[in-house]
Amino acid sequence: MITLRGLTKRFGPATAVDDLTVDILPGRVTGFLGPNGAGKSTTMRMILGLDRPTAGRALVDGRPYRELRHPLHTVGALLDAGAIHPARSGRAHLLAAARSNGIPRRRVDEVLALVGLDERAAAKPGRMLSLGMGQRLGIAGALLGDPPVLLFDEPVNGLDPDGVRWIRQLARSLADQGRTVLVSSHLMSEMQQAADQLVVIGRGRLITDAPVAEVLAGGAAAVRVRVPQPSGLAALAARLAGEAVTVEADGPDELTVTGLTAERVGDLAYDLGVRLHELTPVTPSLEQAFMALTGGSVEYAAGSPQPEAAR
């Protein structure tokens, strides 16, 4: 279990992580989502005792990371996978980590086999490793101490579709074994399939901490309406405007209505005598739910700046 209490990190005037209070529970995959620059990596570095919090605490199984004597047995992490000495072999890289925590040499071979790096790949010096091989090596390092808590920072970066599926299954099986699994990503579609719980942050602040299903349901459900007659379209749009909902024109004959059920939209059209060619409830993807949640929190939004979302 990972416990964050009022966790805050400032770099000069910039606040990277802002008063984050969250529990990451064991037995499930928690997706850690946010746009680039939202503070995900900084949060993970604070959990791992690399960055010092400006305020608040980050605890792993109730203890600050810096107090752990053999931390690899408690927490495994994939963090900037490219960080290997260019001249050192992947195997020696793992062996040094293993020896630091009293992990036997055969465990190095075990985790190498587990992540699918053969002897030749493991003997390559760091500079010869591809991004995907670096990721696999990083994951091997995370698994070395067979830890109950695992952190994966953007694990699917640089992986092919097979690798992505493999990571997803790995995270799932680790969670099923009762471990705490925190996976950060800026890719929503990935998390929709991989995670049980979502912790979403934007500009360092907690936006939501909820099960995936709930986030999906909470993402404003919409209804797509297609009206063949322009006059009917205008009439329906005018009527809907009175219902305090969001209406978007998606084409010459299409509206997307947010905030009303399909039944209610159909009834209104019937009252007005407007002929419909389509009336479809649209289930939002996590992508859309995420956009709705973080719309105001994107660090570098394209186009005109939006006011910061209220917490």
Binding site: L50, R66, L79, G82, H85, L95, S100, G102
Partner: protein, 266 residues
């Protein structure tokens, strides 16, 4: 802790022993270690040979039986350190600056979160390896210089051994000093510049005008203190004080490195 943790075999080495083993593995798994050691050996052979030739040429005494102009083998070895120390202390320097440069420091600190323990482990490995290398360099320097010096060299067994061991101790301490400074400064180039200043440029500048106060200040610098220890001078302080001063500098650099690692984000 969860049940998962309880199923693992219990015996583990101490955290410091583990950190030392990791540093040892890291040191020998990169080729630059071997190149650095080879360059130190070659540099020592060249420098000791050259100094021996100078000693021969500087001789104006026609009668070798008269011991004016005869130098000890140990003194040639010690003088060669002036240059060769930079090849040796590179080992201490790279042990930490390479980790900053490649980002592997984050892995190291995740394995061993105690910053003091990490530096202590690095210092132990650096000191042991550079001490051993120092002994080897003493042997190499002696093998090269002794035949060149010929009749102008004296090699009393006890004195020569003492000089070689003292040189090795000097190299180990200077390498640990480089390690601590590297942890503070992070860049290898910057660390070398500061080391050149502290070991050579600043004390030489202080000694140059021959003003007593400035010379006394220069005596407190690590290179000068180490020099007094190596030369076995009684002045301005006994050799052991020179050794302690140098050790103090190394310890202070380690403490500063630890403070920097604790304070800064990795």
């Amino acid at each position: 802790m969860s049940a998962l943790a309880g199923t693992r075999p219990a015996p583990r080495p101490g955290a410091l022993a583990g950190a030392v083993a990791a540093e040892w593995t890291k040191l020998w798994s990169v080729r630059s270690t071997w190149w650095t050691m080879l360059s130190a050996v070659l540099l020592t052979a060249a420098t000791a040979g050259q100094l021996a030739i100078y000693a021969d040429n500087a001789n104006t005494n026609d009668d070798p039986a008269d011991d004016r102009g005869v130098v000890t083998l140990g003194s040639v070895l010690i003088d060669s350190l002036e240059l060769t120390q930079y090849a040796v202390l590179a080992l201490g320097l790279l042990a930490v600056t390479a980790e900053f440069g490649t980002g592997t420091l984050r892995t190291t600190l995740r394995c061993t979160p105690s910053r003091g323990r990490v530096l202590l482990a690095k210092a132990a490995v650096t000191a042991a390896v550079t001490f051993g290398l120092g002994l080897l360099l003493g042997a190499v320097g002696a093998l090269v210089a002794a035949p060149v010096l010929g009749e102008w060299g004296a090699a009393p067994a006890g004195g020569t051994v003492r000089d070689v061991v003292a040189s090795a101790a000097y190299l180990a301490l200077v390498s640990v000093l480089a390690l601590g400074l590297g942890a503070v400064l992070r860049s290898a180039v910057l660390t070398v510049i500061v080391l050149l200043a502290v070991l050579m440029i600043v004390p030489l500048s202080l000694q140059e005008p021959g003003i007593a106060v400035l010379t006394r200040i220069a005596d407190a610098f690590p290179g000068v203190a180490g020099g007094h220890f190596l030369a076995g001078d009684g002045e301005p302080y006994p050799p052991v004080v020179g050794l302690l001063l140098l050790a103090g500098w190394a310890a202070a650099a380690l403490a500063a490195g630890r403070a920097a690692l604790r304070r800064r984000d990795a």
